[in-house]
Symmetry: C2
Subunit: 224 residues, 2 copies
DNA sequence: ACCTGAACACCGTTCAAGT
DNA sequence: ACCTGAACACCGTTCAAGT
């Protein structure tokens, strides 16, 4: 039952191998599976060994987040309009987060806690400032935008993130049953849309619409 | 150190008193403080007593979420334009969630898992359908909107939600120190906006702008 | 119906000690 | 520098038993 994903010939423990293993584990079994003791056994080591490489569990989680933010391919600044540049930055963030729906929640609170995340924020704030956003508006909008991309990923219908339980099919069926048993008089619109809470018919559409929303919202509150 | 908030003359254990206590505890000390064993001692009872009233811990958390969604004063349907009505519905959601920044994360994944949450979704979907959104668009936009309000609350700068640690002042100071030690060459915009990540100068402004964003975004993706 | 006692299989973390 | 052993103070949950 327990999958061993360690290298059979283990040299040494390192921050990098710990984080890589933790990320893979979280992507497969969810964040709850990431435990100090589990990481230890996966690396054929004692739990306390991890405390030499990381201050505590939170530091491990922080390192996972940092690794993902470091993976964002922030596009170079161009002379394109600010909103087009913003769009491409947000697209890059989405591309980096999408492969990790199960750990997306980890990311939102940690943007401002790692260099790569701060660089991302710097870029977004800069673009907003160039669009005449005040310092306060820019910082608030920037952090909202980054969090919003996270919820776009986590709340994609039918994604693994929604099905927190162990058996995805069972969760799916029970949700469907619950939705279809609703009173049609009280929940007419919900029943019409029920299936779209369970599966995403068109992922590309879903995400491009989400990004459109974020862009339109940002443009909508742009100071005159 | 341990605050006892039980009624000295304890009659009986009930779902309602358990949930009320859990909510108060979470609002004060955060979600991590909400533990079966803590709730038990707060109610002068054995941990296992709770398992008669709730299936498991998740059911307790679900009941907390339901209680908050039940508190949303959904405004009556009027003949006002759909976007004005949407705005007032979202305002009602915000008003219900704002007092509970520390448990806001609990709410997003649980909208569709309680009657009051489903009623809310029904209402929002209905409004979007009346604005010619497709069934898929409407359901996706509705759940995004509800989650977005949550992140508006949780990511309010300087709110208790951001300061997860025990000592809020210490966290605040360390964050400020970290931000101000950034290289001005690489993080010019961030440094300009630094203080707005730490405190919110104008809460009313922050939330009204956030709601404007959500409305503009929704209108922006409205089908032609 | 409502609650307790004892027990199980987990956690994160500290501290002293080993090499 | 890098890791182990033993121990502490917690968790959620089950299961049989009490009233």
């Amino acid at each position: 039952v327990a999958a061993q994903n360690k290298t059979p010939t283990r040299e040494r423990l390192s921050r990098d191998t710990i984080v890589a293993g933790a990320l893979a584990l979280a992507d497969r079994d969810g964040l709850d599976a990431v435990t100090i003791r589990r990481l230890a056994t996966d690396n054929s080591v004692t739990p306390m060994a991890l405390y030499w490489h990381f201050k505590d569990k939170d530091a491990v989680l922080g390192a996972i987040a940092e690794r993902i933010y470091a993976n964002v391919a922030i596009p170079e600044a161009t002379d394109a309009p600010w909103d087009a540049q913003l769009r491409s930055v947000l697209d890059a963030v989405l591309a980096a987060i999408r492969p990790h729906p199960l750990i997306a929640d980890l990311l939102a609170p940690r943007v401002m806690r790692s260099e790569p995340g701060l660089l991302l924020a710097e870029r977004v704030i800069g673009l907003l400032r160039s669009a005449r956003f005040s310092a306060a508006q820019a910082s608030q909008t920037a952090s909202f935008l980054l969090c919003a991309i996270v919820i776009l990923v986590t709340s994609e219908p039918g994604s693994k993130a929604a099905l927190d339980g162990d058996d995805p099919d069972a969760v799916h069926r029970s949700k469907r049953a619950q939705l279809e048993s609703l009173d049609p008089k009280r929940f007419p619109s919900l029943l019409e849309s029920a299936e779209f809470f369970l599966v995403c018919d068109d992922e590309t559409m879903y995400f491009s619409q989400g990004m459109d929303f974020l862009l339109k919202g940002t443009i909508g509150i742009q100071p005159a």
